[in-house]
Amino acid sequence: MMNKLIVSLAFILVMGSCQLALNDVQDYFPKVSTLSAIVQADGTVLVEGSIDAEGAAAIGYVGFCCSTKQEPKMLDYQMISNVSEGKFSAIYEGNFQPDSVYYFRSWASNDYGYAYGNTLSVSKIIATAVTPPCTLVANTCNIGGGQGTAQAYTVTKPAELSSGDWEMRASSPNGPMVTLKFGSTVTTGVFTTVNFNSPDSKEVFVSFNAGFIVGSLKAGSKVYVKRIASGVFDISICDAPWAFNNGNSDYYFNLRLKGA
């Protein structure tokens, strides 16, 4: 009995103390890299990072920080991300001054502490100009061509559907109800219409109904999207053809929505 107790205690001691200390104390902390910081067409900045090593414990949190100082600290415009296959990303949006230089840096934490990645700088953060070929009155629509007539549109914010598409609806007391179904996140850019209800990235399916008239735009037309603020967009469609009752004659659709 005594021998078993002694052996058990010795075993506990041997096992408990067998996790030798790592030679380099920095190996306890995570190692991360800031891979890229790219200005998107809508003026946001997509920042990507990677976990190079977890350290001596599982990763707790990862994210980025951003500042006009050359070495941003963790709490400077902090974004917390999720890791997927060793990579993580975040989208910084809004209020960048075009004449300032911004510095982005990744960070990661585990039970032992935290570590920063390298810093990347980005300057002239500004949205790419999207200029539609027509100038329509805001919040109007005309399904017969020409300047919009039906006014006072109410526009919903883009909502993500279970399919992964993003849908916006525009309704008016005296005009067609319009639905725009985007195949990817709604951002500043030019989207192309498709004539089916499951658009891919950078594609959009535009349908409408006005009384007994139900239609959708033909494939190949352009939809000009300009992001004004978070969830607020200026969207223009200029003379996009659609066929009434699938007939041979084309009608032309004009729309400008501004707001959300």
């Binding site: 002694i6 506990i12 103390s17 200390a21 935290y114």
Partner: protein, 208 residues
């Protein structure tokens, strides 16, 4: 009951040890686990009273009693630590700083060795000790603009130590040994479970 056990244990030691038997051991102490993350290895001395294995084959046990003082040094001047806060400002990972100003440990150790291989001059032995003692700890742990968990104080500790070693008797009076210990102890305040390994070289001298 606990007091009675302690007294009986000490009496057993007294009967097997005499002040005519002293030992000194220099050892290299390696904290392991989280203790090893924070504290550097160090070299220290262990001073004690140590019995000797009898030349008579039937006496393989010997008792030990010793004192150890460990003045731990942190591996970094400042450790970067991170906390997670959820409050009116949302969810944030908050960076903090921890630095150790003092981490001193004094241990009182007593236990037994058993000679697994027992020759006239050579013994290969295993041992098990009880550790008691105290630590004096000062550290700063600050998350700027969030919280301050700076600590000054200390507490008592209890633990165990297991050992393997070889001893060679140079003469009837002098024996030299090489051994390694694995120890684990619980520090009550600030609460911590600490583990370590050490490797040492010792000399035992018996006056009579």
């Amino acid at each position: 009951m606990k007091t009675l056990i302690a007294i009986v244990t000490l009496l057993l030691f007294v009967t097997t040890l005499s002040f005519g038997q002293i030992s000194i051991r220099v050892f290299n102490y390696h904290p392991t686990g989280e203790f090893g993350f924070v504290m550097s290895p160090l070299t220290s001395l262990e001073l004690g009273l140590q019995g000797r294995f009898s030349k008579r084959i039937e006496r393989r046990w010997r008792a030990n009693m010793s004192l150890v003082y460990l003045r731990m040094k942190p591996r970094l001047d400042v450790f970067p630590v991170a906390g997670f806060a959820v409050d009116g400002k949302g969810s944030r990972v908050i960076p903090g700083l921890q630095s150790f100003q003092k981490y001193n440990i004094a241990q009182f150790i007593f236990g037994y060795d058993y000679a697994i291989v027992h020759k006239e001059k050579f013994n290969f032995y295993a041992g098990l000790d009880l550790l008691g003692g105290a630590a004096s700890v000062d550290y700063e742990l600050v998350y700027p603009s969030w919280k301050d968990e700076t600590y000054q104080g200390g507490g008592v500790m209890v633990g165990l130590r297991a050992r393997l070693g070889v001893e060679y008797a140079i003469s009837d009076h002098i024996g030299v040994c090489i051994n390694t210990n694995r120890s684990g102890f619980y520090l009550r305040e600030p609460a911590a479970k600490l583990w370590a390994i050490d490797y040492g070289l010792g000399v035992r001298y018996t006056f009579n």
